[in-house]
Assembly symmetry: C2
Homo-oligomer: 227 residues x 2
């Protein structure tokens, strides 16, 4: 580093925004916050916050603090998405945002703060800053990487049935998947562990519940859902 900037304007304004994807009423949804103040008062924005050099160990820490402050889920998948930057994206000046993607089961969002609302990714409201672009990149990541990884299982509770898993992939990918080839691939990849059956609640055998096998990182194993 040959040059150290000395005024705060020599350094970009640096923040983190989180695209929180979940499933609601059968649709892939994103959690947005209504802005109370300028700039963009009344428009919707991603939950976010400035990076706090004195407090955050790294940018993922900033993202987890944003999640805790505004959304409240305890268990969720979090990965870095992409860093967005430029002089125009924030009226306060040249800024960068290290955008993150969180994938969260709907029930884990029951404690959302007031002012946070879920919108289907295919029916977004008018959004502040460049946040519509950031959501578009997150949805493309979910639909692209979702087809060959366990990313869509982030939408599920820890224990789930095969129909619930298939539904999570359908919602995440935004398209119908072939049920029998999907189940054959899941079986061949051996990524699931069956759980002991719960108590009978009606007639017949309850559907077997599974969880992701302990020896795979939950989002590291390739899983093609193609035909």
């Amino acid at each position: 580093m040959t040059h150290t900037p000395r005024t705060h304007l020599d350094r970009p304004l640096a923040s983190v925004d989180v695209v929180v994807l979940t499933e609601d009423a059968g649709a892939l949804c994103v959690a947005l916050v209504e802005r109370a103040h300028a700039p963009y008062a009344g428009l919707w924005a991603l939950p976010g916050g400035v990076i706090r050099p004195g407090e955050d160990a790294h940018v993922e820490d900033t993202a987890r603090a944003v999640m805790a402050r505004k959304l409240g889920p305890s268990r969720f998948h979090l990965e870095q998405l992409q860093t967005f930057s430029g002089p125009e994206r924030d009226p306060d000046g040249w800024s960068l945002s290290v955008a993150h993607l969180a994938v969260v089961p709907r029930r884990a969002l029951s404690d959302m703060r007031p002012g946070v609302r879920l919108f289907p990714v295919d029916a977004l409201p008018e959004m502040a800053f460049d946040h519509a672009d950031i959501v578009a990149v997150a949805v493309a990541r979910m639909r692209g990487k979702g087809a060959y990884s366990t990313l869509p299982t982030g939408l599920l509770e820890e224990a789930f049935t095969l129909p619930e898993m298939e539904r999570a992939y359908t919602v995440a990918l935004g398209q119908r998947i072939d049920s029998s080839s999907f189940r054959r691939k899941i079986r061949d990849l051996a990524i699931l562990e069956p759980l002991p059956p719960g108590p009978r609640t009606g007639r017949g055998r309850p559907a077997t519940r599974y969880r992701l096998a302990a020896d795979i990182g939950p989002f590291n194993r390739t899983l093609s859902t193609g035909p």
Copy 2:
């Protein structure tokens, strides 16, 4: 944004580092710069530079300026890799680096500035900052994404033969690939355009040369090289 930091220490030091991957003597190599000054004088570092809010349109601009200043190729593939951050990675204080990945044909690097050297990714020298971690993420990206995309073709000149293409994939992935299934996939995906034959220089027909077809983004088409 509810809070705007006012001193430069409230904002992280923000820079861009570029992992430049190329092929040299049959090995996947990275371009490193020997540091002349503290911190880490005498160790090797990625080419990089601070983000200049007054000058750069976005972080990719910073990365292209670094490439022009230190390496000089005109045509190369560039993509964002990941943002690294924290209080420990730079002795100057809490910093973030928006790391980029460049994939460059060897001949395009004939103008490298003095002090820049190529090292095989499997035989790296002692490196400054967290740059060894950044190189590891770049190599994992190349080997992971390389298996299902045209990313390895960034190692090639614009026109190439099929043996050259196969060799680029072998170098990029760090493993032998099955020649006949590779060529069958290339043919099935129809991602290449044959070029008119050049002049005969010896006995027999010269090998056909190809370029990537115009209607695919050079790095957007999936290409599985698996069996």
